[in-house]
């Protein structure tokens, strides 16, 4: 998985009724835009390292800009 600074990562809920979670990519530490990413979590504003798995997808920053 590749991401850019400003992209949003959405993690699907793992159980029925569990809401999706999302975080903002602040830094990209891997080569060629790969993980790990430093992210800020939407709910709390806390930051962490993130290693994407099959439960998440990247929403590119370009795609969320207003038209």
């Amino acid at each position: 998985m590749q991401a850019k600074v400003g992209d949003r990562i959405v993690i699907k809920g793992h159980r029925v009724g569990e809401a999706d979670r999302d975080c903002l990519v602040l830094e990209v530490h891997g080569p060629d835009g790969g993980p790990p990413f430093v992210v800020r979590w939407g709910d709390s504003g806390h930051e962490s390292l993130f290693f994407p798995g099959p439960d998440c997808s990247v929403v590119a920053y370009d795609h969320v800009l207003p038209v």
Partner: protein, 149 residues
């Protein structure tokens, strides 16, 4: 099946100097119950929600206590390219509930949990029980076959 193919969740990590309050907040925000703890680029340990209860709350540690004071180290690891059968052996040998998965370069890439193995087992169990269940629901008795001749 390889270990890396059995990973179901993203991995989340924090620096060793983070507070236990930050660790709990990141767990809550990310929805994971175990964080890998990094000292620079070194995989220093793992801290779980259970660690925070038993080693921090129960001992009345302050919220700004460092997370590396309550983490479990060293970390039990397995290579992502290993066969999943090796993970069963590793869980049995270490007694832990989660293994840190390393990529070909030896870097952390995710966390394999016992739940992942249970799901893997249950999918295999479903495969073998399906023909049995079909036989129970719609028996194909020999008496129903046409009599030859």
């Amino acid at each position: 099946m390889l270990v890396r193919d059995a990973l179901r969740r993203s991995g989340v990590g924090i620096p060793a100097g983070s507070s236990i309050f930050d660790a709990a907040a990141v767990m809550e925000a990310s929805g994971v119950g175990a964080l890998v703890v990094f000292d620079g680029s070194h995989l220093a340990g793992v801290v779980t929600d259970r660690d925070l209860v038993r080693r921090a709350l129960a001992r009345r540690l302050a919220g700004d206590a460092r997370v590396d004071s309550v983490m479990t180290a060293p970390v039990a690891t397995i290579e992502g390219s290993a066969d999943l059968d090796d993970a069963y052996v590793a869980f049995r040998a270490t007694g832990v509930r989660r293994l840190a998965v390393l990529d070909d370069a030896g870097r952390f890439s995710g966390m394999l949990s016992l739940d992942d193995l249970l799901l893997h087992l249950s999918s295999h169990l479903r495969d073998v029980t399906r023909p049995v269940a079909a036989e129970v629901r719609a028996p194909h008795h020999d008496s129903l076959l046409p009599v030859p001749g």
